[in-house]
Subunit: 211 residues, 4 copies
DNA sequence: AATGAATGAGGCTTCATTCAT
DNA sequence: GATGAATGAAGCCTCATTCAT
C-alpha cells in the first residue's frame, strides 16, 4: 500500500523520460474526467485517449487495461489525500487539542474544495462500488484514509478508546464521502448548506468523544 | 408513483395472470441479486433471465429494456420502504415525542434488517449514481425517503425550523445509506459495530434538535 | 398454378366453418396492409394478428409461417387479376379488334383503380424481389399475368408472331407494374399524369403490332 | 451530393490511407453483392464483412450502420451513372439530333452492360422500395437520373414541351430499370430478347416526340 | 515510442414459432 | 379452435485490446 505497483499491474513501464511522465499525467487527468462524468463502464478507452491528446496505443503502453487506469487514479487520489492529511498533522497536535472544532471545519472545507476541483474524488468514490474487484481497491482506499485519520482523532478526541479509534475514523470518512458526494451533485446553494450541515454533524458526533 | 408505468415507458405487457405475476417477481428478484452483485453495467440480461429461471424473451415481454428492470426494482424498493415508514408513523406521534432516541434505534435496526435480507437496497443505492439518467431516478428515491422522514423529524426534533427539516432528513437518509452499505460489505462482527455506532451518530446529530 | 396449395404449404386446414373463412380473410387483409406498408421483413406476425383482430396462435393455425401468408396474398391477388382479365376477355374479341386503343386505356384504368384500392398489388410487387425464394413466386405471378395477356394481344395486335406474343406480353406486364408502382408513391396529381403517360407509352409500343 | 458525408450521418472515419481505401472498396463490393443476392434485410453485416475479407469491427469503422452501407452503394452507383451520362452528353448534341434512334440503342446497351457487371444496379433498384426511409434515397436517385436524361431528351425529342420533359424522362428511367432488372433474372437468351425489345419500346415511345 | 487500423467476443434486443391452457 | 405466454436463435453494434507500421 502506498508503494506503487498495484492490483492489475498498474504500469507497464516506469516513464523515465520527462515527456512520458507528462503524457501519463495527461492520461490520468483525462481518465479521471471521463470516469467522473460517465462512470467506469460507459467510459471508453478511446474517449480517454482522445481527451488526453494521445492514441489508445499510447495509453496501452503505460496501462495494461482499463481497470489499471482506474487503479492508478485511486492511487494518485490517495497520494493527494496523504498530502492533505500531512498538512493537518503538521499543524501540530497543539491545535487539534484546543481547537478541534475549527479543525473539523477546516478539514471538511479542505476536502470539499479539493473534491470539487479535482474530480478524482468523484471518479473514485462513484465507481468504487462497481464490483467485487473494485470493492477491494475501494475499501483499501477507505481504510487508508481511516488509518490516516485515526491518529488525528487520537489527539482531538482522547476519550475514544484506542481500539475503537479506527471504527470512528471509518465512520467519519464514509459519512463525509457520502455527504460531499451528495453536495457535488446539487447546485451551488444547496451544496453550501449541505457542507455546513456536514460540519455540524461531524462535530456533534465527535463532541462527546473530545476533551 | 407506485401505480406502475414508470420512467422508461413500460410498453410491455402488464402481468395479470397469477403465474405471470410470480414470474415477474422472480425476474425482479433475479435482477436485484445480479445488479447488487456485479453492478448495473456488468449485469447481463441473459444472466438475469437465467437466474430467474426464464428466457430473455420472457424478460423482454415485461420490461422493454435493462434499465426498466432497474427502475422497477427501485420502485419496488420504494414501496417496501413506504411500508416501513408507515409502520413507524402509525406507532403514533406519542412515541416520537417521548422516546425518540429508542425510535431512532428501531428505525436503524429495521432498515438494517430489511436491507440485509432484501438486497434491493444494495442494488438500488449502489447503482443509483451511475449516470445522469440514473441520478434522476436515484435522487427521486432519495428525496422521497427524505420527504417521508421529514414529518417524523417534525415531531421528534421540534427545534428544527420547518424550512430546514428536509435538509436534515436528507442528511440522515444519505448518511444512513452510506453506513449501512458499508456494514453490508463487512463481516458480521464489524457490521454490528458499525450499525451500533451509526445509531450513536444519528442520535448525537439529532439530539440538539430534539426536546 | 391456380389450383391452390402453393409453395410453402400455404394452408394447414381448409376452413370449412363460415367463421373461419371470414377470419382467414381478415388475416390476409391485415397481412396485405402490413406487407404493403412496411415490407415483408419489417412486418411482424404479431402486428398482422393484431390488425386482423386475432392472436398469432390463430394465424399459425392457418398459415405455417410468415412466408405462407405472403404466398397466399399473391395467390389471392392472382385470383383477382384473373377475374379482371376474364372481364376484358368476355367483352368479346370484337372490341379488341376495332377498339384496342380504348381497351388499353380501360385495362390500365382498371388496374390502376384496382391497385390503388386493394394494396395487394403493392404488397406483392414490392416484396417480390426480396430473395431467390420470393423471385420464383414473383416470376410465376409475372408469367401467369403475361400468359393471360397473350391471347388478348393475339387479337388486338395480330401482327405479333405467336412465338413472340409472350415476350411482348411480358414487356407490357412488367412495364405496367413498374409505372403503376411509381404512380402509387407519387401524389394524386403526379399519379394521374403518370398513368396517362403510361397509356401513351403502351399504345405507342403496341401500335405497330396492331392491325 | 457526391462529396461523401451522406444521409445516415457518416460519423465514421474517412479512409485516407491507400490500404483503407481499398478495404472500403472491398466492403462496398461485398455489400453490393450481398444486398443484390438476398436483399437488404436478409443481408447480415457479418456476411458482408466476411465476403469483404474483414471483420465487422472494421466495417463499422467506416459505416455507422447497415443502412449507411446501402446509401454508400447508391451514391457510388450514381457516380458511375453520372459518368455514363457524361459520356453520352459529350458525344455532342449533334448525334442526338440526327441519330437519336441509334443513340437510344447505345444508351440501353451501355446500361445493360454496366448493370450486368456491376450488380450495384440490382442492389440499389431492388431494395430501393423497402420503406419510407429508403424511398427518399431511392426517389432521389430516380429523380437525378431523370434530371440527367431530360436535357438529352430536349435535343433528341424537341417536340416534348419543356414542362413535360421530366415526366417523360422519369417514364423512361423507370421503364428501363424495370425491364433491365427483369432481363437480369432471366437466362442469357431471354435477356437478349428482352433488351432488344426494350429498345423497340423506348424508340416507339419517343418517336412521336422526336423530330 | 507513438499511432490508429483491425479484430472479434459479447451484449442487448427482436420476433418467428411453439404449446399449454 | 382460440389464445397469448414462453422460448431462444440470430442480428446489429460496441469497444477493449492487439499489432503492424
Amino acid at each position: 500500500m502506498g508503494t506503487k505497483d498495484e492490483a492489475s499491474g498498474e504500469k507497464r513501464r516506469v516513464p523515465t523520460q520527462e515527456r512520458s511522465r507528462a503524457r501519463v499525467a495527461r492520461m490520468l487527468d483525462a481518465a479521471t474526467e471521463v470516469f467522473a462524468e460517465v462512470g467506469f463502464d460507459a467510459a471508453t478507452t478511446e474517449a480517454i485517449a482522445e481527451r488526453a491528446g494521445t492514441s489508445i496505443g499510447s495509453v496501452y503502453q503505460f496501462f495494461p487495461n482499463k481497470k489499471a487506469l482506474f487503479d492508478a487514479i485511486g492511487e494518485r487520489y490517495l497520494d493527494e489525500v496523504r498530502v492533505l492529511f500531512e498538512r493537518f498533522l503538521s499543524e501540530g497536535p497543539a491545535r487539534a487539542k484546543t481547537d478541534w472544532r475549527a479543525m473539523v471545519d477546516d478539514v471538511i472545507d479542505a476536502f470539499w474544495a479539493f473534491d470539487r476541483d479535482s474530480l478524482a474524488f468523484r471518479a473514485v468514490w462513484l465507481n468504487m462500488h462497481r464490483s467485487a474487484e473494485f470493492l477491494v481497491q475501494g475499501d483499501a482506499l477507505n481504510r487508508e484514509m481511516a488509518e490516516r485519520l485515526a491518529p488525528v482523532l487520537g489527539i482531538a478526541a482522547p476519550k475514544i478508546k484506542p481500539a475503537k479509534r479506527l471504527l470512528v475514523a471509518t465512520m467519519v470518512v464514509e459519512t463525509l464521502s457520502a455527504l460531499l458526494l451528495l453536495a457535488l451533485r446539487r447546485d451551488e446553494r444547496m451544496a453550501k448548506k449541505l457542507v455546513d450541515e456536514t460540519k455540524v454533524l461531524v462535530r456533534r458526533y465527535l463532541e462527546p468523544y473530545a476533551d
